[in-house]
């Protein structure tokens, strides 16, 4: 009796250890893979942002800031069939002026900013801003508005069909998953309107812009496997 209880205890201990350390190990490996995936995507996006900024700077004969924000479905170890959403962003600035900055035949000063969210490009509006020169003169310069806040809302519809069919030879298992992921990204733009009358070091901001970008991601995944009867 005593021996059996001892054995059961040892087995429970082994099971408990395996359950704890096994799940910890799988979690650690999942984090490692997830980190690698983000790193790889981030690197690729940085290259892309730089080349896109280069192109816009050349086309506009100006100084361009280009930001890319992209949502992707990445690995998620806890829900491997479904995956998880990941947000990657990168930004680059390029100045490529031939002669005076700005496109020929315009009064633009060649300062531009672009925001690309999931493939949709937004050119930020240009406003006149009063700045003080080193000599103390006040002049107007044309600059793009500033994006001061980015918000994302998302909805995810996920369905999973799991069936098992038994025949005399084997058991056929099928799993079918469908994900519909919708992300609404809102960009908030503002510009510093004027110097604060109470505190000359601070600006008053005019938050006058808002863009909503809807991105959708659909994916189906199916897997069928057979287990023969022994």
């Amino acid at each position: 009796m005593g021996l059996r209880i001892g054995l059961n205890r040892r087995k429970s201990q082994a099971s408990a250890e395996m359950a704890i350390f096994g799940s910890l190990l799988i979690f650690a490996l999942g984090v490692l893979i997830s980190y690698g995936q983000s790193l790889n995507q981030q690197h690729s996006l940085k290259m892309e942002a730089f080349r896109k900024a280069l192109k816009k700077a050349h086309d506009t004969n100006g100084s361009v800031s280009y930001t890319i924000l992209r949502h992707r479905r990445n690995l998620d170890i806890q829900q491997p069939f479904k995956g998880g959403r990941n947000e990657v962003n990168a930004s680059a600035s390029v100045m490529w002026c031939n002669g005076v900055c700005g496109p020929e035949g315009t009064k633009d000063e060649g300062n531009y900013a672009y925001y690309e969210v999931d493939g949709k490009v937004i050119k930020l509006p240009i406003i006149k801003k009063e700045v003080e020169t080193d000599e103390g003169d006040e002049i107007d310069v044309k600059v793009p508005v500033e994006i001061y806040k980015v918000e994302s809302e998302s909805t995810e519809d996920y369905s999973l069909n799991f069936t098992k069919q038994e025949s005399p030879e084997n058991v056929t298992t099928s799993k079918q998953a469908e994900v519909k992921d919708t992300v609404i990204t809102t960009l908030y733009g503002r510009f510093n309107w004027r110097k604060n009358s109470d505190d000359p070091d601070e600006y008053e901001y005019n938050p006058a812009w808002e863009w909503k970008i809807v991105s959708q991601y659909n994916k189906n995944k199916a897997r069928v496997w057979q287990t023969p009867h022994q």
Binding site: L3, R10, A14, M18, L25, I26, L29, L32, I33, G36, Q37, L39, N40, H43, S44, M47, E48, R51, K52, A53, L54, K55, K56, A57, H58, D59, W96, N98
Partner: protein, 94 residues
């Protein structure tokens, strides 16, 4: 009798160790293959990017050109992870 019990316990431990070791080795192998994919993806992307640098920075070339024509991105597939078979062959420069 005590000896038999001790041998049984040891055998149990050896079997558990072998099973866990195989499972662990498979997990580590899979993770390594996925990391090798990230490395290969980088190797697939970087040379074409470098090759287009001059054209991309030249007004007479193709300013701001992103990756060249004929470049195909790599995708992490089950064949890669479980069998080590790539979807796209990465060219090696010598």
């Amino acid at each position: 009798m005590a000896n038999t019990s001790s041998v049984k316990n040891k055998s149990q431990v050896v079997i558990e160790f072998i099973l866990m070791f195989v499972a662990l080795a498979m997990l580590i192998l899979g993770t390594t293959r996925i990391w090798v994919f990230f490395n290969a993806d980088f190797a697939n992307r970087q040379p074409p990017y470098e090759q287009t640098r001059i054209a991309a920075g030249n007004p007479e070339g193709s300013p701001g050109q992103w990756l060249p024509e004929g470049y195909s991105a790599m995708y992490l597939t089950e064949d890669w992870v479980f069998k080590g078979i790539p979807e796209v062959e990465v060219e090696r420069e010598r």
